[in-house]
């Protein structure tokens, strides 16, 4: 084992060798092509009014002019549906084959800091406790995350509240490479070893100057000034507050009265991980699939006997908030919400998780 002195020195050397690159925005297409050559590339694509991450087939589709995507990029590691086993049913039983877990190295380009952080939160669930989820692990291990700072000059979306959960507009945590925009250029800095080796292998990039580096650091500093909605909470205090408010049914009913239980909030959320497993068969051929499910649906906990522990919407919404802000804290040591504001933006009846958490915090 290397002693503490040894590792300090190693860190020091690392610092001197920071991998720092740049490219002009006009040449974004070249960067996209180069990344695509390395394996599947996921990047933001405009589709009508919405921008979402997609697997890139046409270089020109990629846009970096967006605030944040409607859906989170979690589907790269955890697709909305995927086949676990494919089978053919026969008289004497099923002919079955597990579907190999696709593990080609891939890149996600343009991930906002709150979303990059969400991957680490999900890691604690899928990789950090008990049985390791092989699907999540394989894809996480093989994917490089290129984070993308929010523009320090632009006001944050009113729904966002990532400051409340300790995230800033240019946090590099969770990213392998971090990207900052400078007038007509993109500056890219290696954050992890994985990110550095990706950058080193991209001949389309130019070396960045000391001035660029100063600009990069300045952006990170300025982004501390981007202020989203904020309420003072700590993980353990809000967890305890929620436990204390659990039995206060009237409050929960009132706060969630307009919710229709559509589940949209959970589908757009980067940290919701609930899934279902079901078999789908057509003409004797089929697949055991896993797909996103949501605690907001009536039948999520419905048992074969007809018993349902959470038949009412307020109970299901309370479960959602308690899961993210209490159970997750107790179980995994952190809140499982990154304040990205997606649920609030997408809710058809304007339910806002921030207001609910704020209210409970002040009970």
């Amino acid at each position: 084992m290397i002693g503490s002195k040894g590792s300090l020195n190693a860190d020091h050397c690392e610092k001197e060798k920071v991998v720092f690159k740049k490219i002009t925005l006009e040449k974004l297409g070249d960067l996209v092509s180069a990344l695509k050559e390395k394996g599947p590339l996921y990047a933001p694509v405009r589709d009508g009014k919405a921008v979402n991450f997609q697997k890139i087939t046409k270089t020109a589709d990629v846009t970096l002019d967006f605030y944040n995507t409607v859906f989170s990029p979690k589907f790269v590691f955890f697709p909305q549906t995927e086949d676990l086993i494919r089978y053919t049913l026969q008289k004497e039983g099923a002919q079955a084959e597990p579907v190999p877990i696709a593990a080609s190295p891939s890149v996600i380009l343009g991930v906002r800091p709150c979303d990059a952080k969400s991957f680490e939160i999900m890691d604690r669930h899928f990789l950090g406790a008990g049985i390791i989820d092989p699907y999540w692990k394989n894809r996480r291990d093989n994917t490089v995350v290129i984070g993308y700072a929010f523009d320090p000059a632009a006001p944050p979306d009113p729904a966002d509240f990532y400051n409340t959960v300790g995230i800033h507009a240019a946090d590099t945590e969770g990213s392998d490479v971090f990207m900052v925009r400078k007038d007509g250029e993109l500056l890219l800095k290696g954050i992890t070893k994985k990110g550095e080796s990706l950058l080193k292998g991209l001949a389309v990039l130019d070396a960045a100057s000391a001035q660029d580096e100063a600009f990069f650091d300045e952006t990170i500093r300025k982004d501390r000034g981007v202020k989203t909605r904020f309420t003072e909470i700590t993980d353990t205090a809000i967890a305890a507050k929620l436990v204390g408010s659990f039995e206060k049914q009237e409050i929960w009913e009132e706060m969630t009265a307009s919710c229709i239980g559509c589940g949209t909030c959970t589908f757009v959320c980067p940290t919701c991980y609930c899934f279902d497993i079901n078999d789908e068969t057509l003409f004797r051929k089929g697949a055991r699939k896993r797909f996103w499910d949501a605690c907001m649906f009536t039948d999520f906990t419905l048992e074969a006997s007809g018993h349902n522990p959470r038949p009412r919407i307020f109970q299901r919404y309370r479960q959602k908030v308690c899961h993210k802000y209490s159970y997750h804290v107790t179980k995994y040591g952190c809140i499982s919400c990154v304040g990205c504001g997606r649920c609030t933006r997408s809710c058809p009846v304007n339910i806002d998780i921030f207001s609910i958490v704020e209210k409970v915090a002040n009970l």
Partner: protein
């Protein structure tokens, strides 16, 4: 890395219809691959996902004991409801020789180590007796018996025809190292044994709380009326254990379905002491 979502192949080697209503059967499976059998190391109280491709999976308690080598058993009720009962119905349609899948063992077990050196009161109602049967077989095994104190078993069903494992019950009745108290809610002409509800029988037998642990599994109503009896007898919440049921899918604490508060019943349970349950939300 072993993929925890892929079932191991098993073959149905025996099927016993347990009850006169024909809707509860015990399935005995043998592993198709020897390595799988070796990997499937379990303790009484654990469960497994039974998989029939094209139908799905169901979590079912393991009814056999690890002391019974070469096979595993599950006792399954065919669920009759409008929308569902898909997997349990498909299971009931199987014949000996059929192949299907098993994923497990899953969850925690009855607190075997904690039970050592103590008297054990086993209370079961209806077909929820399955993992208790596993526990009884385990404790009665020659090399294990001395690790436990007195064993009292209170087991009830609505009618004599609804009692499971009848031959085993009869065999246990004959033994000196276990006291059986089998009861039915309603007697019929075939029945010469006890009549009375499980909670009432518990009160009559009044097992001492001294150095004793109660392990209780049954329908919610039975549990609701049985617990007060044990409290009256002086059993503390730390010394009463039960097994929870929640709808499940993954069985390994990943799909988020079966939580009670911060616990996933499939992974942190299904066995909990009442003291542990007291710290959780009442959503089950």
């Amino acid at each position: 890395m072993q993929n925890p979502y892929i079932p191991m192949p098993v073959e149905v080697v025996n099927i016993v219809t347990e009850v006169d209503t024909n809707d509860i059967k015990t399935f005995r499976f043998a592993f198709v691959n020897k390595e799988d059998e070796e990997r499937f190391q379990y303790l009484p109280g654990q469960f497994a996902e039974l998989s029939i491709l094209g139908k799905g999976e169901s979590p079912i308690g393991i009814a056999s004991s690890p002391t019974q080598k070469g096979y595993i058993e599950f006792t399954v009720q065919r669920v009759a409801n409008l929308s569902g009962g898909i997997v349990t119905a498909a299971l009931h349609d199987l014949e000996v020789g059929a192949r299907m899948g098993v994923r497990g063992p899953l969850g925690n077990s009855w607190p075997i180590e904690y039970l050592e050196g103590k008297n054990v009161v086993v209370v079961g109602g209806g077909f929820a007796f399955t993992t208790l049967r596993s526990l009884i077989h385990y404790m009665l095994k020659e090399e294990n018996r001395s690790r436990f104190g007195d064993i009292n078993v209170i087991y009830g069903a609505r009618t004599p025809g609804l009692l499971c494992y009848k031959e085993e019950l009869a065999a246990w009745e004959k033994r000196k190292d276990i006291r059986m108290h089998v009861t039915v809610d309603k007697r019929d002409e075939t029945w010469t044994g006890r009549e009375g509800f499980v909670p009432t029988v518990c009160r009559e037998i009044a097992p001492s709380a001294e150095n004793s642990v109660a392990v209780i599994c049954g329908p919610p109503v039975m549990i609701r009326f049985t617990l007060p009896v044990f409290f009256e007898l002086g059993f503390s919440k730390e010394n009463i254990y039960t097994s929870l049921e929640m709808r499940m899918k993954c069985g390994i604490g990943k799909c988020g379905r079966c939580n009670v508060g911060e616990k996933y019943v499939c992974k942190d349970g299904p066995v909990f002491s009442l003291a542990e349950l007291d710290t959780l939300t009442r959503e089950y």
